[in-house]
């Protein structure tokens, strides 16, 4: 967990203390509120996270060297994971954010598969955010 920012580390630990998966999901649903919402009329093909079962959109900008992350998803679970990512990277320098591996979703006991495939909206979302960050720092 070395690369996790403090806030993310705490979150992971908080989740790990909860044994029941249903409870963890409910906690995650609450984190959906943490995302700076990308309004529906800003949803475009370029904000779309591909391969999700339902609609999910993200927008990542870098302003004065700090990340600005917006997102929204039909599924609360996906938006909750955006919330976690948001807590992790909002306001960070891109170079720092790029060090965060996707493992937290598994470590928080939320996903059981990290394979980048259609079942895994989270992984696609994470990959898209990181890719865009990389492009914007080049």
């Amino acid at each position: 967990m070395t690369f996790y920012p403090e806030a993310l580390r705490e979150l992971v630990e908080e989740f790990q203390e909860v044994e029941d998966k249903r409870e963890r999901i409910e906690m995650l649903f609450e984190l959906a509120e943490e995302v700076l919402e990308l309004p529906r009329d800003a949803w475009t093909d370029s904000t779309r996270v591909r391969g999700c079962q339902s609609e999910a959109h993200v927008k990542v900008g870098v302003s004065e060297g700090r990340i600005e992350f917006l997102g929204a998803a039909d599924a609360k679970l996906v938006q909750g994971l955006m919330g976690v990512l948001s807590i992790a990277i909002q306001g960070l320098a891109p170079a720092q954010a790029l060090l965060i591996p996707p493992d937290f979703a598994e470590e928080m006991g939320l996903l059981n598969s990290l394979t980048a495939s259609r079942s895994n909206g989270f992984r696609n979302m994470y990959d898209k955010v990181m890719k865009e960050l990389r492009q914007q720092t080049e």
Binding site: K21, R22, F29, S54, D74, K76
Partner: protein
């Protein structure tokens, strides 16, 4: 041992709760006898089939061919081509029969209820050969528009229709479809991936020309399926994939092909899989499928009713011959969230478009939550599902 006890996976816990496996339309579980048969093969008789005289090769060949023999018996079919599954079986028809017998201007009739595996191969053929595709619409009662079907037959050469919808569970009026198609001079392909797990079919009496299905949806292994073909249609098929045992002779001037089913089984076949399927077919004879089907549909019908009471939209009608599939949506709770919440309590259901986007498009939706029941599922599991959903609705609606 009870039927259910023969499935080792059903002892498993998921997220601390007993597994309730309700994703049977995607794939079914395997009884221990199927695993045993494959283990015995691999640890006692593993060898490549055909063309060899040693003992293991003889045993492997007998094991492989026993699958074909059992399929012939179970379905009363004279030609059984072993494929990797329903999808390959339909692609085989599109290539081996379609490309040899259809040309620009010919028409194929599909339905909006088809699985992608019975759409995309035909779209590819249509694009390549200038064949026309006509889609029979689905009505608001979740059935095929039979009037439109009749109209679509004019000049059609092939009708491809799903036996039972994997989304709706609706079993189509196949006898009528086959009779009308034949009267119009069209051949008929049945996608029976969801049909044969629920009903015994006499292919000869049924009268379709081609029928495709997968082992993994009827308690057999992954990686294997079959295409049943009537003899006259079989004679019209050109080879599809080349190599391995499908030839009679090969020379640099050209090749001649086998005349039996091997012609369409290029390369080392799915030997262990055939042996596992063979065991699964035997196992399917160990209980009364019709009675089980009745029980399962009863459960599905009950679940559908309860879910409607919870405010869900249910897509299906659950007639006696339909499959035990319940597709539903809640007006405000997202499907994926619902599936995750269920998974947290051990319930495995599927969400998404179920590879039937044209059907969902017609229904005005992009996906459903689907609970599908099979022979080892119990009424108690169904009650548990309903109780869980009730809790979810109360909490998250």
């Amino acid at each position: 041992m009870s039927l259910r006890d023969q499935f080792p996976i059903l002892q498993r816990k998921v997220n601390g709760y007993p597994l309730v496996y309700l994703d049977n339309a995607a794939t079914t579980q395997k009884p221990q006898v199927v695993l045993d048969a494959m283990n015995v093969y691999y640890s006692q008789s593993n060898a490549n089939v055909h063309r060899a005289v040693h003992t293991l090769a003889g045993e492997a060949t007998d094991g492989y061919e026993s699958c074909r023999t059992k399929l012939k018996e179970r379905f009363n079919a004279s030609k059984v081509i072993i494929t990797s599954g329903t999808t390959e079986a339909i692609n085989l028809v599109a290539h081996a029969w379609g490309r040899a017998n259809l040309s620009a201007g010919d028409a194929i009739v599909l339905t909006e209820m088809e699985h992608h595996s019975d759409i995309v191969p035909w779209q590819m053929l249509a694009e390549e050969r200038g064949v026309e595709i006509r889609y029979v619409p689905v009505t608001q009662h979740f059935t095929l528009d039979m009037e439109a079907f009749t109209h679509s037959l004019e000049g059609a050469k092939l009708v491809c229709v799903v036996h039972t919808s994997n989304v709706l569970g609706v079993r189509n009026p196949l006898e009528d479809i086959i009779a009308q198609s034949h009267a119009a001079g069209a051949k008929v392909l049945i996608d029976a991936a969801q049909g044969v797990p629920h009903a015994t079919v006499d292919f000869e009496a049924f009268g379709a020309d081609f029928m495709a299905f997968s082992a993994h949806k009827m308690c057999g292994p992954t990686g294997i399926g079959a295409l049943l073909v009537q003899p006259d249609a079989f004679e019209q098929m050109q080879p599809f994939m080349g190599g391995g045992d499908m030839i009679e002779t090969v020379s640099i001037e050209g090749s001649t092909y086998q005349t039996n089913e091997h012609k369409f089984e290029a390369g080392t076949p799915r030997i262990a899989e055939a042996i596992g399927w063979s065991a699964a077919l035997d196992w399917m004879e160990s209980f009364d499928l019709d009675a089980e089907h009745e029980r399962m549909v009863g459960i599905a019908r009950w679940v559908a009713g309860e879910l409607r009471k919870l405010g869900m939209a249910v897509y299906g009608r659950h007639d006696d011959d339909d499959a035990a599939v319940v597709s539903f949506l809640h007006p405000t709770i997202n499907s994926e969230d619902m599936a995750h919440l269920l998974d947290a309590r051990g319930y495995a259901v599927r969400t998404g478009h179920h590879c039937a986007q044209p059907l969902l498009h017609r229904l005005g939706i992009t996906g459903t939550v689907r609970a599908s029941f099979y022979v080892y599922n119990t009424r108690e599991e169904a009650e548990g599902l309903v109780a869980e959903l009730k809790e979810i609705v109360e909490k998250f609606a």
